[in-house]
């Protein structure tokens, strides 16, 4: 940057900034937009909490699978075909009557893409990232999830390689449900830990 350089005073609109950098990288031959569109489309179509719900439903239905899932989350989740970016090292943490687990990324927005998809806006917000490690019980209560005082809250800050999936407790009254029906009652929020089923 030279001393004579003057930046424009008016901020360019976000759409114009995106178009500017995109056009540069396309002209340089760095971005192949058609190929990238397929990748993004695949994320939109095939990644999401419906995948994590299948993992949870299998664990509720098959004790041997649950054992494998808790021992080696990556391998057990790959058994159901869910793997890839941001799912390379999966750790599954189990809720019990004594323990409630909660997942956050205080440094950025780490999240298990193959099983939950891309993270929701609130998960990436400063409010969630600041408070989940400081006052989780109060935060959960505010979000409508009251964790009894005698239940330990275990917060997992996804600060490095591991991506976490919460295995919620199977709700009462679901003994007759099929695995597919069970998958239908598992929510995204219950697998992050901000909700109890």
């Amino acid at each position: 940057m030279t001393a004579e350089h003057h930046h424009p005073t008016k901020l360019a609109p976000i759409e114009a900034r995106v178009a500017a950098i995109e056009s540069v990288l396309v002209e340089k031959g760095i971005l192949d937009l058609a190929a990238l569109d397929q990748i993004v489309q695949n994320f939109e179509d095939n990644l999401g909490p419906m995948n994590g719900a299948k993992v949870v439903a299998r664990a509720w239905s098959d004790p041997a699978y649950k054992e494998r899932l808790l021992a080696d989350g990556t391998a057990a989740i790959a058994e159901l075909g869910f793997e890839g970016l941001q799912g390379e090292y999966m750790v599954v943490v189990e809720n019990t009557p004594q323990v409630h687990n909660l997942v956050v990324c205080t440094l950025c927005s780490c999240y298990p893409w193959p099983t939950l998809g891309l993270p929701p806006r609130w998960y990436k917000s400063p409010a969630y990232r600041t408070r989940a490690v400081r006052e989780p019980r109060k935060l959960l209560a505010e979000m409508g999830t009251v964790i009894p005082a005698d239940v330990e809250i275990r917060v997992w800050d996804s600060s490095a390689e591991a991506r976490y999936l919460v295995l919620p407790m199977r709700p009462d009254g679901t003994a007759d449900m099929s695995e597919e029906q069970l998958a239908g009652i598992v929510t995204r929020d219950s697998m992050i830990g901000v909700q109890r089923l």
């Binding site: 424009p8 995106v18 950098i21 540069v24 205080t106 990232r129 600041t130 809250i153």
Partner: protein
């Protein structure tokens, strides 16, 4: 914990004191390091939402995915391109605007374009992140044999590096217990600043709320943070 000036503009208005220019402080932690800060209010939660609410968000995601894939950008370099944003810009930008700023910063630093060119094409100001001030450690020896085992007490080194790190400020200097040994991974602090993949053992370390937050903490709440061995030392 510690006080950190974030909203320097408002501080000036309130107290009439000169703003702290974080750019002149050599060892300050990034504003992205949010764990435990106060004052951000309630979480605005939605049960469901589209991945991208506006087309520019999708285009930015696509752009960053392409840049990372074609350039082999290490995760730490990607994250640090965002962490280097001016604090006030970081906190006021929508999520994918941060990605856009990081992508454009890396493209300029790689010599693909210049800020002038981007501003000419965009027809206005195009802010980038600040320069990378990260430094590589003298010792680049890889380590694969873990020094600690499950159940060991450890202390997180308190050194607040100027570059990228995955040691959140809120655990630096604090005592915890190893609950999981993960094997060795490329440590982000080194890969982010061009030092290549240097293996380092990785652990999940448990901290009590009282250890982290003292009187403001709570019983029955524990926090786990994934920490590389280079971040840890024996308890004193």
């Amino acid at each position: 914990m510690h006080a950190h000036a974030i909203d320097t503009v408002r501080t000036v208005e309130k107290f009439g004191i000169p703003p702290i220019d974080r750019r002149t402080i050599p060892d300050v932690d990034g504003v992205h390091d949010l764990g435990g800060l106060d004052g951000f209010g309630p979480v605005e939660h939605k049960s469901t939402e589209p991945y991208f609410e506006e087309d520019w968000e999708r285009r930015t995601f696509r752009l960053m995915v392409g840049l990372i894939a074609t350039q082999g950008v290490p995760g730490g370099r990607f994250r640090h391109s965002i962490e280097r944003m001016a604090p006030e810009q970081y906190l006021s930008s929508p999520y994918y605007e941060r990605w856009l700023t990081g992508a454009a910063t890396m493209a300029v630093e790689s010599g693909f374009t210049t800020q002038d060119e981007l501003e000419r094409r965009a027809g206005g100001r195009f802010p980038l992140s600040r320069p990378d001030r990260g430094v590589l450690p003298d010792d680049l020896t890889p380590h694969t044999t873990p020094r600690y085992a499950v159940g060991d007490d450890v202390r997180v080194r308190q050194w607040h590096p100027p570059g990228h790190t995955r040691a959140p400020r809120y655990v630096q200097g604090r005592h915890g217990t190893v609950v999981r040994v993960d094997g060795a991974f490329s440590i982000d602090d080194i890969a982010a600043h061009g030092g290549g993949d240097i293996a380092d053992p990785l652990y999940s370390v448990r901290f009590t709320s009282r250890e982290l937050w003292g009187e403001a903490g709570a019983d029955g709440e524990v926090m786990h943070v994934d920490l590389f061995e280079r971040y840890l030392e024996d308890p004193q």
